[in-house]
Symmetry: C2
Subunit: 257 residues, 2 copies
């Protein structure tokens, strides 16, 4: 049984990539086999793992040359339990080609079912900051959709729009779509706006907010600068502890253990 998790948000810079990297690492360290997929043309995942050489295969082949075997699509990381499919759609022409195929919103779901099901315990997808066809591919393919939220006004406004669009997708595309929860990220309890907005989120969305809150954490910025997850670089930091707690909360809350 493979559980597919997506980190999605139209708002930029809210911790989608950071959360995807660190949750993947937490599961890999915990003994689960994890495949990450980077759907963001920015290619942040490889930078986060300190991988500088562009792989010859990745997201482009997943969409445009599906006969490429899975183990050729994957790039290895320093963890034996963690592989990832690099976002190699850096040229505008590649991106354009991929988006044509992704217009079939069920493409990724079908590919995962036929190529990946059973080979990994988790598939974790990092999405670009948009609501375009690649993000919708990820939402439709996911068992759990996690929405990182920075507790600031513009991110809150963007979340409201995202939830409206999500409802549109549920009625028009796939009624099984479900949000697993909202994850508060970069939280600084000394900033009043953060306290006020987090209270609003709990008040309006109660059960769909993860109990685990990811605090603002300097070691996260440092670890990303040296191409490591914060779990690898500073295991006792508040950031690392929070992501390990999140992994456990997900295992418990969704009976995955």
């Amino acid at each position: 049984m493979t559980t597919v998790i997506s980190f999605a948000s139209q708002k930029g810079g809210v911790g989608k990539t950071t959360s995807a990297i660190n949750l993947s690492t937490a599961f890999a360290v915990g003994g689960y086999r994890v495949l990450m997929i980077d759907l963001d043309p920015q290619d942040s995942v490889s930078a986060s793992f300190g991988i500088k050489t562009a792989s010859s295969y990745g997201t482009r082949e997943l969409y445009c040359d599906p006969s490429t075997p899975l183990d050729e699509l994957c790039t290895k990381t320093r963890h034996e339990n963690l592989d990832f499919i690099m976002s190699n759609i850096s040229l505008m022409a590649d991106e354009y080609e991929v988006i044509q195929v992704a217009a079939d919103l069920f493409y990724l779901k079908q590919w995962l079912q036929s190529e990946v099901e059973g080979k990994y315990d988790f598939v974790i997808i990092d999405c670009p900051p948009s609501m375009g066809s690649l993000t919708v591919n990820a939402l439709v393919a996911s068992d759990l959709v996690i929405i990182p939220l920075q507790c600031e006004a513009l991110a809150m406004q963007s979340l409201k729009r995202f939830l409206r669009t999500f409802k549109e997708l549920q009625t028009k595309i796939d009624s099984h779509l479900r949000i697993a929860g909202i994850l508060l990220t970069m939280y600084d309890r000394q900033i009043e706006v953060h306290r006020v907005i987090s209270q609003q989120v709990y008040h309006y969305l109660q059960g769909s907010v993860f109990q685990t809150i990811i605090p603002r954490c300097g070691e996260i910025i440092e670890s990303s600068a040296v191409g490591k997850s914060v779990i690898n670089k500073s295991i006792s930091s508040v950031g690392s502890t929070a992501y390990i707690r999140l992994a456990n909360e997900i295992l418990d809350r969704f009976n995955i253990r």
Copy 2:
């Protein structure tokens, strides 16, 4: 003579909207007539000005019903010198329709020349966090392209990719495209990564970095939460002072006064 300025970056959450809002306000307070255009489906500009009611006209009509008169497209702000065109492409169907028209990469440039030239001193465009057709429309239409940069590793990696794509645009679409400069935002000199990355940027990009640096500033978070620019809410804050200094640097550096 109307000067068109775009804030563009594929990286999310680096201060594109915050910079567009505050530079617009700085120019308006200084007596210049300013038109903002929000090309981001997230509609962050209206939230930043505290405008809650969706306007019936905006970016959608600019692209899909160009016979709509300019003054009907505009939403007024509390400044008499500052109007904006709201991003009213919140439904997926609207976004899809606009993107079809924006496939003509010179569309916005031609619309500005025929409808806006001479009516405002500045047009300031807020872009979405992507390198899609709406962003390219803005780049092609701009006299000055400003790239906000957060001094963290993932933003730096994304900047490198953005500059590569920009070169592709210069050779394939429009050789006149020029970057006015890179604007360091949310800078916190107590964070070592911020100091190291800002040094790298100065070293590699010298003349194309604005002297003005926008520091991390709590009042910016607060002002956005109450729907005001930081210049309106806390004129003496470090954030407000920095954006006023940026306005002056732009006027001097590009002989606009």
